[in-house]
């Protein structure tokens, strides 16, 4: 198989899609999110007596990860916004009115 340099789009990894999150009216502060404690683990078979598989993120690491995800989102938006489409389009969004069932007499 011949070698080919991946395009920028192809570099978007399986995991990076998680950075592309959605809209909400409420914004949260980084500090609150970073400091949010997890609930103590219940003593159910699998989870107990296991060391944590990943180290807890420090505030700096947390912010660094946020910036990485933000950069990914902005990169995605740049691609979406630059993608040429004709005005109008071919009705890609499907909407189906729901029929009302007839009342039995």
């Amino acid at each position: 198989m011949s070698a080919r340099v991946p395009t920028r789009r192809e570099k978007l990894t399986r995991r990076r899609f998680v950075a592309l999150a959605g809209a909400s009216l409420a914004a949260m502060t980084a500090g609150v999110a970073a400091a949010a404690p997890a609930e103590p683990a219940q003593k159910s078979g699998a989870a107990k007596a296991k060391k944590p598989a990943a180290p807890p993120a420090t505030p700096t690491a947390h912010q660094k990860e946020f910036e990485r995800q933000k950069s990914g989102t902005l990169s995605t938006l740049k691609t979406i916004r630059a993608y040429p489409l004709p005005p109008g389009g071919d009705l890609p969004v499907v909407f189906k009115p729901l029929r009302t069932p007839k009342k039995e007499r």
């Binding site: 198989m1 011949s2 070698a3 080919r4 340099v5 991946p6 789009r9 192809e10 570099k11 978007l12 990894t13 399986r14 995991r15 990076r16 899609f17 998680v18 950075a19 592309l20 999150a21 959605g22 809209a23 909400s24 409420a26 914004a27 949260m28 980084a30 609150v32 999110a33 970073a34 949010a36 997890a38 609930e39 683990a41 219940q42 078979g45 699998a46 989870a47 296991k50 944590p52 598989a53 990943a54 993120a57 947390h62 990860e65 946020f66 990485r68 995800q69 933000k70 989102t73 902005l74 938006l77 979406i80 916004r81 993608y83 489409l85 389009g89 071919d90 890609p92 969004v93 189906k96």
Partner: protein, 467 residues
């Protein structure tokens, strides 16, 4: 005492034994429950075993057989279901701790369909919290801790159907149900050395399953062979009034219902193995390609359509997930998730405008058209599932899997079916997998091609030694 090979037997092997009365479902089920008791903590496979329900269903299966009410090849076969399928009176927690008291009062459609087919539910399989739809960077983003790979418990099972993968690979269930938004069936199938199929979007009802991304989620099996996947898919596929997105047109899944493989054109995606990926994985993939070519499949290296499928899928999945989990974002429970970036997805979401989302929907349509044109020239895409083996459980997944997933992106955007099959081993004896992807509703073509491959190889029968 059952023979040790029943734990890793296929449905095709177990079913005739059960039907002939040489193996009782109760005996088989009790054996699996004993193994779950013994090994579950090692692999984090089950969130919650359901022994009473399982033994009740198994007893009914045996009783039905005695009364000549045979329900088909899944009659009496024990399985696990990812803990996002609603199960009547059994908690269904979506991989979180804070939903552990969530007890549905009815079954998901697929659970009902498997029950009608005579299958026996052993329990709810562990999973990545919210199926990863609010993001995760580490394997431990689950109420039950990281899915530990039966081939090497220091390595990850893959996700988000982590417990489904672990349960089947460890011989704790004959098959498992998983779901996939982007990669969540094919990934654990790959890392655990299993055969798994991601059906076409809409082929299998999602009713009663957790919604992660409304227009991306698919339900499919992880099993030990293509034949088993076909049997399970045939039992769960089909229109469902409870799921309006379900295809109403019947899709034939019988052996031979796909396109004749001798007439197929397969596309091989060029990959840059010099920069990323492991040589052992490449070597294993090359043997799969050689095997398929030897069987007569025509293959041609060709680039994929140059479309922003990853961006479209990523953005829309993110939007849909934020809408789906809005109540937990609003009341702050999302802060109880293991992945501490989940609550901050709201901030990232604020960068996306309404027009951005609608434009992404329009581009998705354009992507579908390009892909449709591609599938007029090629019938299937053959490509590695991953370019590396399962990573260690503690590794940051962004670092562990640093390469793109262009085929997965296209498949997510267009709802394409994909079949994962083992093709030998890589470093440290860990499984290597490849995938075949087809046009929508060509699931039978995939299964037929998979049957052909597995009739010529034995990789799918390899399993770890669990003692």
């Amino acid at each position: 005492m059952l023979k040790s090979d029943v734990w890793f037997a296929t449905i095709d092997e177990l079913s005739p034994e059960i039907r002939a009365g040489r193996l009782s479902s109760v005996e088989l089920t009790q054996g699996f429950l004993d193994r779950i008791e013994k090994f579950n903590a090692r692999f984090n496979a089950f969130e919650r075993p359901t022994p009473e329900l399982a033994l009740d269903q198994a007893a009914r299966a045996d009783s039905d057989l005695k009364s000549k009410r045979y329900k088909g090849p899944l009659h009496g076969i024990p399985y696990a279901a990812k803990d996002l399928f609603d199960t009547r009176a059994v908690p269904t927690a979506w991989g979180t701790k804070f939903l552990r008291d969530r007890v549905p009062n009815e079954n998901a459609t697929v659970i009902d369909r498997l029950e009608a087919a005579g299958a026996v539910l052993l329990g709810k399989a562990a999973m990545v919290e919210f199926a990863g739809c609010l993001g995760y960077r580490f394997a431990n983003a689950s109420a039950t801790g990281p899915g530990r790979n039966p081939w090497d418990p220091t390595r990850w099972t893959g996700g988000s159907s982590s417990g489904s993968g672990a349960a089947v690979a460890a011989g704790l269930a004959t098959f498992a149900l998983g779901t996939e938004t982007w990669g969540s069936i094919l990934c654990p199938a790959a890392f655990c050395g299993l055969t798994g199929i991601r059906p076409t979007y809409g082929l299998v009802s999602r009713a009663g399953g957790m919604v992660g991304a409304y227009t991306f989620d698919k339900v499919g099996p992880l099993a030990r062979s293509v034949g088993d996947c076909r049997t399970i898919l045939a039992a769960i596929a089909g229109a469902d009034p409870r799921d309006p997105s379900c295809a109403t047109e019947k899709t034939k899944l019988d052996r031979g219902a796909g396109r004749q493989w001798r007439n197929l054109n397969a596309a091989l995606v060029p990959l840059d193995w010099k920069k990323v990926g492991e040589p052992e994985v490449k070597a294993a993939f090359d043997t799969a390609v050689a095997e398929l070519a030897g069987a007569g499949l025509r293959m041609q290296e060709t680039p994929l359509p140059d479309v922003p499928a990853a961006e479209v899928s990523g953005l829309l999945i993110g939007m849909e997930a934020l809408a789906a989990f809005d109540p937990f974002l609003a009341d702050g429970r999302v802060k109880q998730l293991v992945d501490d970036m989940a609550p901050r997805q709201l901030e990232l979401g604020q960068l996306v405008t309404g027009p951005d989302t609608t434009k992404a929907l329009r581009i998705r349509d354009a992507v579908q058209r390009e892909v449709r044109e591609f599938f007029q020239r090629f019938d299937v895409i053959v490509t590695p599932n991953f370019m590396s083996i399962a990573p260690p459980v503690e590794q940051d997944l962004n670092e562990a899997l640093p390469y793109g997933d262009p085929v997965g992106a296209l498949a997510a955007a267009c709802g394409l079916p994909g079949l994962a099959m083992p093709t030998g081993t890589g470093r440290a004896g860990m499984p290597v997998s490849f995938q075949i992807v087809a046009a929508p509703f060509e699931d039978a073509t995939l299964l037929d091609l998979g049957d052909l491959y597995q009739s010529r190889t034995r990789h799918h029968r390899a399993h770890p030694a669990i003692a």
